[in-house]
């Protein structure tokens, strides 16, 4: 991907890739939501992307800025412990550890990410048709 943001397509493309990363993390979290492990360290913890703005080199003149994913972090939510001595994954004391994933939160995250994704597509579709009409100017 080009380093600088030079036009509106760069802005929307980057924003959409960022939202895509966010959707990927949601998918991973939901897929692992029901995992069970035998120790707290092994238990799955929800992951979340950290967004930050990237500004075009000539931002003051153009006002162009977009989004990038800085890193993907594990959330602070602790895995829940449950006493189930019969479970095959139970540890010596008979406890199992459930994934630290809040499925309700993940679903809301998914809705928000897909809505933002759609917004960016809408913007680019509108501006593209404006560009095409501008090319036809004077015909």
């Amino acid at each position: 991907m080009a380093d600088n943001i030079s036009n509106i397509f760069d802005v929307s493309a980057r924003a959409m890739s960022a939202q895509m990363v966010r959707l990927n993390t949601v998918a991973s979290n939901l897929a692992n939501a029901n995992n069970i492990s035998s120790s707290e360290a092994q238990a799955y913890r929800a992951i979340k992307p950290v967004f930050s703005s990237v500004f075009a080199e000539n931002f003051e003149e153009t006002g162009l800025s977009s989004v990038q994913v800085d890193e993907i972090v594990k959330t602070g939510l602790a895995p829940s412990m449950e006493y189930k001595p019969d479970h095959p994954s139970a540890n010596d004391e008979g406890y199992i550890f459930k994934s630290a994933v809040d499925t309700d939160e993940e679903l809301i995250e998914m809705l928000d990410a897909s809505r933002n994704f759609q917004n960016n597509i809408e913007v680019i579709t509108t501006l593209r048709s404006l560009m095409l009409r501008t090319i036809d100017m004077g015909k």
Binding site: S12, R22, E60, S65, S66
Partner: protein
């Protein structure tokens, strides 16, 4: 060339500024979920005055007056410090696109007027 530019009137400058504002608003929409991002916008009327002033002073079509980005004041604060309110940005964007198209059709009419004057029909 200056005469043709005069004929185009305000729409030439307006189209440039509208297109720039579209990009600023699109950047806001792109950053709708970035923590601590502050939504920006321009005061269109003021910027248009500035550009027109620049053009009339220097008789230069490039209209090089710099735009001044301002921060949008959000109606409600959000916890993550982001001041983009999607509905506000979308409304502004929709309005700006409509006004861009208006300027475009004014320009088209001016151009076809010029064309028929050249042809002498």
């Amino acid at each position: 060339m200056q005469k043709i530019l005069d004929h185009m009137g305000v729409h030439f400058t307006s189209l440039q500024l509208r297109s720039q504002r579209n990009e600023i608003l699109a950047s806001n929409i792109a950053n709708a979920s970035t923590p601590n991002y502050k939504a920006r916008d321009i005061n269109f009327g003021l910027e248009l005055q500035k550009q027109l002033h620049e053009i009339s002073n220097f008789e230069d079509a490039s209209g090089a007056a710099e735009i001044e980005l301002q921060y949008r004041v959000p109606t409600e604060l959000s916890l993550d410090g982001n001041t983009v309110e999607l509905h506000v940005e979308q409304m502004e964007f929709a309005e700006n696109v409509a006004r861009y198209q208006a300027s475009l059709s004014f320009l088209n009419q001016k151009i076809s007027g010029l064309k028929s004057a050249i042809k002498g029909e």
